[in-house]
C-alpha cells in the first residue's frame, strides 16, 4: 500500500470541495442524490433543513363531511374546559389533514411490501392500508354505523352519545361494517395527541395552548441558567419554532 499523509488546509484557506453527482432522485418524491464528497462540504449561513408544513387554506385531504366528523371526534377526545380550548379549536383536525396530505399519509418512508399477515401483538401493525385509506374507510364506516342506528352523522349526535360510542370503539365493543372500529379509534387518538402537543407549525396546538397548560416551555434551547434552580416554578413562557423562524 502507498503512504501519503497530506492534510488539506484548515478553515482559514479556501477549502477544496468536489461534489460529484452520481445519480438522480431515488424515489419520485424524495431526492437522495448519491454524492462523492472530498474536502469539507460548505454550507450557506441561515440555510436550514425545514420541517414539512403546508400554508394553504382549506382542507387538503378531507372532504367537508369527513372533516366535520373528525372535528367532532377531536373535540370529545380533548374537550374544551377550564384547562384549555377543545381539540377542534386547537387545530387537531387541521393537523391530521396536513399529516395525511404529506409523507405520513402515504407511509412513503415505511416498508409496505407484502405478504401481509395479522401476526402476534409483538409483531406490531401489519395492516396493508396507508393512513389516507385508514381515515377514508374508517370515517365512512363510522358514519354508516351511526346512520343505521340513529339516522344521522356522528357530528350530529349529542356529546354524551359521542363519548359513549368512542368508549365502545376504544374498548373494541362495537363493530363497524367494512372497517375495524378500534383501529380507527387508536389512529385518531394517536394523531390527535400529536396535533395537540406538537409544535404549532404543523397546524395544531394553537397558540401553544397545550404547552401552556402543562408548563412545557417548548423550543427554548438553553437551560444553563436554570439547571441549579431545583424544585422551583420557573415561570417560563413557551417558545415555538415559528417564533425562532420569526427572529430570523
Amino acid at each position: 500500500m502507498k503512504k501519503r499523509a497530506k492534510t488539506l488546509p484548515g478553515v482559514t484557506r479556501r477549502q477544496v470541495l468536489t461534489w460529484t453527482t452520481l445519480g438522480v432522485a431515488a424515489t419520485v418524491t424524495q431526492a437522495a442524490d448519491a454524492v462523492s464528497l472530498k474536502g469539507t462540504p460548505g454550507w450557506t449561513p441561515f440555510s436550514d433543513n425545514p420541517p414539512e408544513s403546508f400554508d394553504q387554506q382549506g382542507w387538503l385531504f378531507f372532504t367537508p363531511e369527513e372533516a366535520q366528523t373528525l372535528e367532532a371526534i377531536v373535540d370529545r377526545l380533548i374537550p374544551a374546559d377550564e384547562l384549555s380550548i377543545g381539540g377542534k379549536e386547537a387545530g387537531c383536525a387541521v393537523f391530521i389533514d396536513r399529516q395525511l396530505h404529506g409523507f405520513y399519509g402515504t407511509f412513503e418512508r415505511l416498508y409496505m411490501q407484502g405478504p401481509f399477515h395479522q401476526g402476534t401483538p409483538q409483531q406490531g401493525d401489519q395492516s396493508p392500508l396507508i393512513p389516507q385509506q385508514r381515515y377514508r374507510q374508517g370515517i365512512a364506516a363510522l358514519n354508516r354505523y351511526v346512520q343505521q342506528s340513529a339516522q344521522k352523522n356522528f357530528a350530529d349526535l349529542q356529546p354524551e352519545q359521542q363519548d359513549h360510542l368512542l368508549q365502545a370503539m376504544e374498548a373494541g365493543k362495537v363493530h363497524f361494517d367494512g372497517y375495524d372500529a378500534q383501529s380507527l379509534f387508536n389512529d385518531v387518538l394517536t394523531n390527535t395527541m400529536e396535533g395537540f402537543f406538537a409544535d404549532p407549525i404543523y397546524g395544531g396546538n394553537k397558540d401553544m395552548v397545550s404547552w401552556k397548560m402543562l408548563g412545557f416551555p417548548g423550543a427554548r434551547y438553553d437551560y444553563r441558567d436554570y439547571i441549579d434552580r431545583h424544585n422551583e416554578n420557573l415561570g417560563l413562557e413557551p417558545i415555538s419554532m415559528m417564533q425562532w423562524k420569526a427572529r430570523g
Binding site: K3, L22, V35, E194, D222
Partner: protein, 587 residues
C-alpha cells in the same frame, strides 16, 4: 456494473466505528473511501437551532432513522413462528446518514467492567460452572481489560466524555462509580451539573448506603477541543437530545468530533446515499477483494480495495456477512456456524414516582445528564442462591419531556376527555422515574438469519431476528426492579409504579437501540466470527467492527465500547497488520 480504481481501504458505514477507523487509517497515509447508505449530515443545516426542537419530526416520524422502506428487519419471538417485517421502528432505532445512530443517541458513555470481557470464566470461577443456567450460552470476548483500557481512553478523549473517575491509576476516589475498572486517565471534562430529579435520587441512594455517581456523558460539560483538533460547545440541557441531533455541537457524534477532521484529509473520500450490496471475496474465499454498491440512481459499482472494514449498525454488519456468505450461518438446531449467533438485546425496567408537591421541571434535561448507582449491575452483587445472573445500571437521566411522548399519569387514568386532561396537567411537572437498564444474556435460540419471505428494494433478503427474553433475564429484572422500588419508597412519593421487564419481547414500544451480537469476537473460531482485533477468522483483510462483536450484553450502554473496539481494530491494523498483512493470532 462498472469497476472503479482500486483503493487501499474501503469502510462501510460512517457512524462512530467507521469514521474512527477511516480517520486512523487516513492518518496512517492510506487512501480511504467511506461508503454511507444515508445522506450527509451537517449540524448547521440539519440540526439548526431553529428547526431541531421538533418532537413530531424527530421522535414520532423518526427523521434520523433508517427508512424502513430502504431496509428493515423481520422479527419473531421463537423459531416456530413466521417472522413479519417491522414496518415502523419501535423497540430500537437504527440510524441513517453520516454519524449513524451516534447522531440520535443519548450520549451515555460507560466502559464495560473488566470481568465482562471474560464473563464466562469469571462466573465459573466465582460460582462454579453449575451455577450458569442451562439456557444461557455465555462466552468470553477473547480480550482483556488491559488490552481494552487504552482504547476506551482514546474514545473518551475524542468524545470529550464528562464524568468523575473513581479509580484513577489505582487511586480510589469517592464520588465516582466505585465499580469501574482502573482508568489510566481522568475523564476529559468534569461531570455535568444535575437537575432536581437526579439530585433527589442520589440523596436517597446515599442515605440507603449506596454510592451514587454522575453518569458518564459524551455531552460535554464545557468547551472542549479533542485530539483531532475539533472543538465542541457545552451542553445547554435543552431536553431535545435522544432521537435528535445536537445544534450546539455538545453531543459527541462522528459528525461533531471525527468527520470535520477526516474530511480535510486529501486521502479520504466519502460516498453518501450509496448502499453496499456485498463484500467480495476471491475464489479461495480467504481474501476480500472489495465491495459492490448501488447508488441512488440504481447504478451498480465495484470498488476494489486491499482492506475492507465493515462498520455499519449491528443488524447490517450481520446481514452483509450472511449475504456475502462470510463465515458459516449459525444454525440453532445443530448449534453449528457462527454468523448470526449470540444475538442479545437489553432488559429495560423502570419505576415511576408520582409526587404531589415537587416540581422537577422535566424539560430541563439531556440524554446523558443524571445520577446512577451500580450496586445491582452485572456481577457487582453476590448472585449465590438468587437463581439468575446479571443485573442493571440504576439511574435517573431526565432526557427531556416533550409532551407527545412524555405525559406520565397514574395507571387506570382514562386516555382522553376532561379527566385525562386534569391528570396530565397535575402530574407533568411533579413526576420522575428511575430506570434500570439491565443485561441480556444470550441463548441458543436467540439469533440472526436471513428472512425467507421478505426482501429489500434490491431483492435481497431482510435480516430476521429471532428473540425472546431469557428466563434468567426476566428473573433478574424482577429482582433489580424491586431494589429500585425500595429506593423509590424511601423518597416518599404519593404513588409508585414499578415496571420490570416481563413477558415476551415486544417490537412495538421503544426499549433501547442496544442490539448486539451476531458476529461476535472470541478466541475460538468455532464459536466466534472475529478475533480480538475484530479481524474476520480466515479472511485476514476483512474487519467487522461494532456492537455485532459483543458475545452478550451487560447492563451498560454500548457506544463507549463500540468506540473502543474501533480504536482497537485501527490500532491493530496500524501497528501489526500493515507491517505483516495476515492473520493476527498472537499479536
Amino acid at each position: 456494473m462498472k469497476k472503479l480504481p482500486k483503493t487501499d481501504v474501503v469502510v462501510i458505514g460512517l457512524g462512530w466505528a467507521g469514521s474512527i477507523i477511516a480517520k486512523e487509517l487516513a492518518d496512517e497515509g492510506l487512501e480511504v473511501i467511506g461508503i454511507e447508505r444515508g445522506p450527509w449530515r451537517d449540524t448547521a443545516r440539519d440540526f439548526n437551532v431553529a428547526t431541531v426542537t421538533d418532537e413530531l419530526r424527530y421522535v414520532m416520524r423518526e427523521e434520523l432513522m433508517l427508512r424502513t422502506r430502504q431496509n428493515t428487519c423481520t422479527m419473531r419471538n421463537n423459531p416456530s413462528q413466521t417472522a413479519l417485517p417491522m414496518r415502523t421502528w419501535g423497540s430500537f432505532h437504527p440510524g441513517n446518514g453520516t454519524g449513524g445512530a451516534g447522531n440520535h443517541w443519548a450520549g451515555i458513555t460507560f466502559r464495560f467492567q473488566p470481568e465482562e470481557f471474560r464473563l464466562k470464566s469469571h462466573l465459573t470461577e466465582r460460582y462454579g460452572a453449575n451455577a450458569i443456567p442451562d439456557e444461557l450460552v455465555l462466552q468470553d470476548w477473547g480480550t482483556t481489560w488491559e488490552e481494552m483500557e487504552p482504547h476506551y481512553m482514546q474514545f473518551e478523549r475524542v468524545a470529550g466524555t464528562s464524568g468523575y473517575a473513581a479509580n484513577l491509576n489505582g487511586e480510589k476516589r469517592a464520588g465516582g462509580n466505585p465499580f469501574e475498572g482502573m482508568r489510566s486517565g481522568d475523564y476529559p471534562t468534569p461531570p455535568l451539573r444535575q437537575p432536581y430529579g437526579p439530585t433527589l435520587f442520589a440523596e436517597a441512594a446515599k442515605n440507603m448506603g449506596y454510592q451514587p455517581f454522575p453518569v458518564p456523558s459524551s455531552l460535554v460539560s464545557e468547551a472542549y477541543t479533542n485530539p483531532y483538533g475539533v472543538t465542541m460547545g457545552p451542553c445547554t440541557f435543552c431536553g431535545f437530545c435522544t432521537n435528535y441531533g445536537c445544534a450546539n455541537y455538545s453531543k459527541a457524534s462522528a459528525i461533531t468530533t471525527v468527520l470535520p477532521a477526516l474530511m480535510r484529509k486529501e486521502n479520504f473520500t466519502a460516498y453518501t446515499n450509496c448502499e453496499v450490496l456485498e463484500v467480495l471475496t476471491d475464489s479461495s474465499g480467504k481474501k476480500a477483494t472489495g465491495v459492490t454498491y448501488i447508488d441512488s440512481s440504481g447504478d451498480k459499482w465495484e470498488q476494489p480495495a486491499d482492506l475492507v472494514i465493515v462498520a455499519a449498525f449491528t443488524f447490517e454488519n450481520v446481514r452483509l456477512m450472511l449475504l456475502s456468505k462470510i463465515g458459516e450461518a449459525y444454525d440453532p438446531v445443530t448449534n453449528r456456524g457462527t454468523t448470526g449467533r449470540n444475538y442479545a438485546y437489553q432488559t429495560a425496567n423502570g419505576v415511576t414516582l408520582f409526587f404531589d408537591n415537587k416540581n422537577f421541571n422535566p424539560f430541563i434535561g439531556a440524554g446523558a445528564v443524571g445520577m446512577g448507582i451500580d450496586e445491582f449491575n452485572n456481577d457487582n452483587f453476590d448472585h449465590s442462591g438468587l437463581g439468575f445472573l446479571g443485573g442493571g445500571s440504576i439511574r435517573v437521566t431526565p432526557i427531556g419531556s416533550a409532551p407527545i411522548g412524555y405525559r406520565p399519569v397514574p395507571p387506570n387514568t382514562p386516555k382522553w376527555g376532561s379527566q385525562w386532561k386534569r391528570a396530565v396537567k397535575d402530574n407533568y411537572l411533579s413526576t420522575m422515574s428511575i430506570g434500570c437498564e439491565a443485561s441480556s444474556y444470550t441463548t441458543r435460540t436467540n439469533y440472526l438469519s436471513l428472512d425467507p419471505n421478505y426482501s429489500d428494494p434490491h431483492g435481497r433478503p431482510l435480516l430476521r431476528i429471532t428473540f425472546d427474553f431469557a428466563e434468567n433475564d426476566l428473573k433478574m429484572a424482577q429482582y433489580c426492579t424491586g431494589k429500585v422500588a425500595e429506593i423509590a419508597q424511601s423518597m416518599n412519593p404519593r404513588q409508585i409504579v414499578a415496571k420490570p421487564m416481563s413477558g415476551h419481547w415486544n417490537s412495538v414500544p421503544y426499549q433501547s437501540s442496544h442490539v448486539v451480537g451476531g458476529f461476535i469476537m472470541g478466541a475460538d473460531p468455532s464459536t466466534s466470527s472475529v478475533n480480538k482485533h475484530l479481524q474476520v477468522w480466515d479472511v485476514p483483510n476483512l474487519f467487522v467492527v461494532g456492537a455485532s462483536a459483543f458475545p452478550q450484553n451487560p447492563g451498560y450502554n454500548p457506544t463507549g465500547t463500540v468506540g473502543a473496539l474501533a480504536f482497537k481494530a485501527a490500532h491493530a491494523i496500524r501497528h501489526y497488520y500493515l507491517k505483516r498483512p495476515g492473520e493476527m493470532i498472537t499479536a
